[in-house]
């Protein structure tokens, strides 16, 4: 029994700001400052930003996670809907403006990081979070063993849910841990106390920068997704051949920043190659703007053909 006849047109999102739900719909080419200026009026924030100047779309094409994914999950858990331009030029609505949905198949998460293979986003619906007014950046320094122990201590306790980010950063041969906290000013001392406790327990040196801006690392050249227990070792290894690597410790993601050169494709390929078999076994992956997408298998090609027929149909 069909209760309702088929719709004749798409129910597209119209840009909006819903301060009650903490949702914001804006063009995919919005920048961090565009998002910030609309959200902060309502004491809200979008914590998953990597670069001040690049568009949100560029950030999402570059990686699936940001440092604050430690607390808030990947982009696909924080982008609720899209207006999506199909190759035909027609625009389809993908996803919702509410956080919870199990209505139909999840095209949102499938398309979000697909680059331009199936069209492009026109607008995003973002899930915002309360802006509590106080941000601080803690840095832990120490030898490798102490830093490993420090990450473990930060992640394996009930505090893990409350760090905005726990990142293991390697630049050249030097590594340190960066923790971002965001809270109401009245709670700052409680967070500081816990950070001092971790430093004391792991023999690391803590420096705390209060009222610091959230870190904007920029868009990575290479992103590798592995498991949280392997991410620090992998990140440190990759950093030897790069300018910098940032391991998003709970997310199991490494952001690699390469030195400028003419052979980035070859160098990126060389970085990934030794790890491909293990990443396949673990169900991990890699992504880089310098590398072509993984070619589909025969089985996958058959599924893709069916989807592409629907995507390309006028």
């Amino acid at each position: 029994m069909n209760v309702f006849p088929p719709m004749q047109s798409e129910r597209l999102f119209v840009p909006f700001m819903d301060e009650v739900d903490g949702t914001l719909c804006l063009p995919a080419n919005a920048t961090a400052s565009d998002i910030h200026s609309q959200a902060r009026t309502h004491r809200l924030r979008f914590p998953l930003l990597l670069d001040a100047a690049k568009t949100l779309r560029e950030q999402i094409v570059a990686t699936t996670h940001a440092p604050a994914s430690c607390r808030f999950g990947p982009y696909c858990d924080n982008i609720l809907g899209m207006n999506w331009r199909l190759p035909s030029g027609r625009i389809a609505r993908i996803g919702e403006r509410v956080v919870k949905t199990t209505t139909g198949y999840d095209w949102l998460r499938f398309l979000l990081h697909s680059g331009s293979r199936y069209g492009e986003p026109v607008d995003y619906v973002l899930r915002l979070r309360p802006d509590c007014g106080f941000t601080a950046i803690a840095r832990f320094h120490g030898d490798t063993k102490a830093l490993h122990s420090c990450v473990s201590k930060l992640l394996h306790s009930g505090w893990m849910h409350w760090w905005d980010a726990v990142d293991y950063i390697t630049e050249g041969k030097a590594s340190f841990i960066r923790v971002m906290i965001h809270c109401v000013p009245e709670e700052a001392s409680i967070f500081a106390q816990q950070l001092e406790h971790v430093a004391a327990a792991t023999s690391t040196q803590l420096t705390l920068q209060n009222n610091a801006p959230p870190p904007l690392d920029g868009l990575p050249d290479l992103v590798i997704k592995t498991t949280p227990d392997r991410v620090i070792g992998l990140s440190a290894e990759l950093a030897h051949a790069a300018r910098r690597s940032v391991a998003l410790c709970y997310s199991g993601v490494v952001h690699v920043y390469m030195n400028d050169s003419d052979d980035l494709t070859e160098r990126t390929q060389a970085l990934v190659q030794p790890h491909t078999a293990e990443l396949h076994t673990l169900g991990g992956d890699w992504h880089s703007r310098w590398l072509p997408a993984t070619p589909p298998t025969i089985t996958e090609s058959a599924w893709l053909n069916t989807l592409e027929e629907a995507i390309h149909e006028h």
């Binding site: 819903d18 919702e96 589909p296």
Partner: protein
């Protein structure tokens, strides 16, 4: 394999209850290999295949509407690995949700989705319907925690989408995204890799009552923006309160009140510092009846009305339909009023017990399916409700799935292009609709 009428009787319906469709047979594979063999045989024979965990879903999902074989996955119930350093576990699809919780607890980690059917439901059913629960407001739903899915296609081929690392694996695309919440319409699931979190150290539970919807709504709006990030914000309306208070589960809630149940959790020092500000928020919004505790026994008492209400519904009425719409929270009062007005006009009892923080409504319509015309009245109310839900920017289902209960409303959600995309997904994996036909989209009819 079960084939006798007595054996099949238990597989005719899910938690929805009143729609009964007996399968022709039920098979209980011993392991994934046997299941793969069965799938190849089913494809060759051309019989519909319906996967089923514990059958607790509330949308008519794991039911053989077109006959055929129900595959009961109760034998695939191994917890294969718990990896606390990597924050993941590997489980078979028949593992019970609460059994997993119990196994994880000694390791100091937990798997957050917590549908109220936890004592009986299986992870296979949870993944198939993208289950949620009371603590989704902060922790999210099943799709936020599935790192990988092992799926068996109708041709018996076994594929792993993702794994402990939660990425694409060797595939170009992230196929697990389509698998999660696909309600058994694409493939049979056998194994999952799930993301874990450290257990919160401390939990405080709050119960507050309000005289009207306006003040309750104000409290909800303030809570969702509060820096304590509540884990749960649950609501029971006056009709639910009356139901509880007139039962043996009465707990002294004021007559005619709206009840809010709120939970905050986290590290002890942090959560304890937040208690007074949450209590003050609840009072400031208009409650002069705020109770809170961090003691387990008292917390269970505060949860009592919320937990008892689900069971009482079944006692009060031979049949009930529970809807699962999600709406922007600014529309809460308006849509609840629509539920009351429509139900009262049709002389159908309606009780609202729901996840207010998510705007995830669960209006329960109590009726007797044996009385001619009653089901039609409920369907008409549901139709008007869903129409309004979509008009205010909401969606049909937040955590129960579409099944065959809400499939008729899908044209309200998807326009011509997005509908074409939707239908291309089963066309890719299960083009003849042999897997769970007539679910999610009601034109998914299997022709052998």
């Amino acid at each position: 394999m079960l084939t006798s009428a007595a054996q099949l009787a238990g597989y005719g319906a899910d938690g929805l209850g009143y729609k009964n469709h007996l399968p022709d047979a039920v098979v209980i594979p011993a392991d994934a290999e046997e299941l793969a063999g069965f799938m190849r045989g089913a494809k060759a024979l051309g019989v519909p295949v319906v996967m089923r965990g514990a059958g607790t879903s509330l949308s008519g999902g794991p039911v053989a509407v077109q006959g055929g074989v129900v595959v009961h996955t109760s034998a695939l119930k191994k917890i294969r690995e718990i990896n606390t350093e990597g924050f993941w576990c590997e489980v078979e699809c028949g593992v019970g949700l609460n059994d997993l919780d119990a196994a994880l607890k000694p390791h100091g980690v937990f798997y957050p989705p917590d549908p109220s059917s936890g004592p009986v439901c299986t992870l296979g059913g949870n993944v198939a319907s993208n289950a949620g629960g009371a603590h989704c407001f902060r922790y999210g739903v099943t799709s936020n925690y599935v790192l990988g899915v092992e799926a068996i296609m109708l041709d018996g081929s076994v594929h792993r989408f993702g794994g402990p690392a939660g990425g694409r694996g060797p595939w170009r695309e992230d196929w697990k995204r389509f698998m999660i919440g696909s309600e058994g319409t694409l493939a049979a699931f056998t194994r999952f890799w799930l993301r874990l979190l450290p257990l919160p150290e401390k939990v405080w539970t709050f119960r507050a009552t309000y005289p009207d919807m306006k003040t309750t709504e104000a409290a909800i709006h303030a809570l969702v923006a509060h820096s304590s990030y509540p884990a749960a914000i649950e609501m029971l309306d006056p009709r639910g309160v009356a139901m509880v208070e007139s039962s043996q589960m009465a707990c002294g809630l004021p007559e005619g009140s709206f009840m809010l149940l709120v939970e905050i959790d986290g590290p002890e020092a942090l959560v304890n510092a937040r208690v007074q500000s949450v209590a003050e928020l609840l009072r400031h919004a208009g409650s002069n009846d705020v109770m809170f505790s961090d003691e387990d026994a008292l917390r269970q008492k505060l949860w009592k009305a919320r937990k008892a209400s689900g069971g009482l519904l079944g006692q009060l009425s031979p049949s009930y339909v529970v809807q699962d719409a999600v709406i922007p929270k600014r529309a809460l009062a308006e849509v609840l009023q629509l539920v009351y007005d429509e139900a009262d006009a049709a002389n159908i009892r309606a009780v609202n017990i729901f996840h207010a923080g998510d705007g995830n409504l669960h209006p329960n319509f109590l009726f007797d399916s044996r009385v001619p015309g009653e089901l039609e009245k409920v369907e008409l109310i549901s139709k008007r409700l869903m129409q309004r839900v979509i008009e205010v920017g909401g969606t049909l289902s937040g955590e129960h799935g579409i099944g065959n209960d809400k499939s008729a409303y899908m044209p309200l959600v998807f326009g011509p292009d997005s509908m074409r995309l939707q239908l291309s997904v089963p066309a890719a994996f299960n083009p003849a609709h042999q897997m769970n036909p007539l679910k999610v989209f009601d034109n998914r009819h299997f022709i052998a």
